[in-house]
Amino acid sequence: MGTLAFLAPPIISCIILAGMLSYFGNHILTRGIIFIDIAVAQIAALGTMIGILLGFAENSVNAQLVSYAFTIIILGIFSLMKVRKQVLPQEAIIGIFYCVALGMALLLAEKIQGGSNYITKTITGNVLWVTWKSVFNCLLVFVPVIIINLLMGKRIKEISHGALTGNSLRRTRMYDLVFYITFGIIIVKSVPVMGIFLVFMLLIGPASISRIFVSSWKGRIMWGWLIGSAGSILGIYISYSMNISNGPAIVSLIGIAAYFFAFARLFNNRAGKTSVSNNQISAK
């Protein structure tokens, strides 16, 4: 099979995901809840374990439903915990949820066949095995998510920047809930396929890099998408030519690039050159 034909489905998957995650990533960065996707992945895994313990077969629809339901409930609680004056930062709350979920997963891992597979650190995955069929399946799920976020995009953006919708805490929380649930769905769908670290990096890496140079909201999302796609393709190429594990290649590449650009910006600034942010319309 020609190499290009072989690599096409994985590359397309990465490009699609890079786009979705660039959008969500920007929100995540602005809200300062960086590790939410790792927490969601672990919570979803815990949900699956609960499903299995309830008697459903490992990859049955029922087990998946339990997993989604569990994740949504936890995300609901999380949205409800948003308050005007946050004594405990949301990231800390995420940390608490992650910690407890991981602890529970550890406890239950013994009782389930192959239980250690539900513990976040070991969630590897390999996008290289995707087929066109699974790409299509993912799109089925992603399209509603995109539509919802397009419709509610403006409000959600305001909330991310700290505003309260119509000055009502309750309505804000509702929008938050929608945001988190659509986010959760993307994560739960993509992590088993791509592995937790690839999803994590595509979420925060490209968005971070675009932030260094671009100030406009839309610009950041577009550039994030571009960077994520380019990083994935380059990473796959490196994995291929240097025979390096695929996911790690992409993650390391984008991550190191992020640091490179950040430091470049820092030194550039020190050298007294005109900083880009002076001239741009600020919509941060």
Binding site: L88, C99, A262
Partner: protein, 288 residues
Amino acid sequence: MMLSLNFILFPFLGCILIVLINVYFGIHVIKREIIFIDIALASIAALGSAVGMVLFNVGHEEVAHGDHAFWPYLFSLGFISIASLAFTLLRHKTISIPLEAIIGIAYAVATTLTVIILDKGAGGDVHVHDMLVGTILWISGPQLARLAIVVAITGIFHIVFRKKFMNLTESFHNHEPDIKRYKLWDFLFYFSFGLVVVEAVKIAGILTVFAFLILPASLSVLLTGNWTGKLIVGWLAGIAASFAGLLFSLKLDVPSAPVIISLLGLVLILGYILYKSINKNKPLKEQP
């Protein structure tokens, strides 16, 4: 019962040491909103260790056995220094990336680079598992002593310079705080924490160390405002949960980390309820 107490004595002492230092750091970390820094530092240390292992052909068994083979340890400290430097420098007004994201990226890169290096160079994935769960129940005398020394050194350092660090953290969200040579102190903050993390994770695993960092400190933050109060609340909660947790884990025959976490989680829920009810009686304007 006697056998049980004997059995958990060393683990309990180990927990106390970790609680003492981690609650302190936890309060800092929550204020700075860099919650996942310890997980990141642990991964970075592991990367350093892997590099050391491969370059100097150190056996996997030596490293996994809980002792510190020389070169891997040196390298892990080296990598932590580099990371601390990066975290210090990248908190700058021209970098509009939250520090937590920078830390997150470091975490992901460290973990995946470790995989690549081990893939090409040395043993497989077993090392990763060890670090997550840890073996505090099997802690030995020498390990405990080592932990005590590291905690003592870091602790004393932070007691002596506590005002500096507290000021630094309080003004963290201001990109150029009015403190002399704040970059140096920032670096020392991350590095000293890294030292503790390397030691503690080796014994107790990432999960327990993370739990001790975040859970008691979150409780303190909810319940009180001043530093001393936060420390005391955190320490009490952490130590009580460790003791009860170890005892229960013995009784139920399960790993200790989940039990301790569950207890701390319960206490947190109670604390949250308490917090809500205290603040219910405040005027509407001040209500969260």
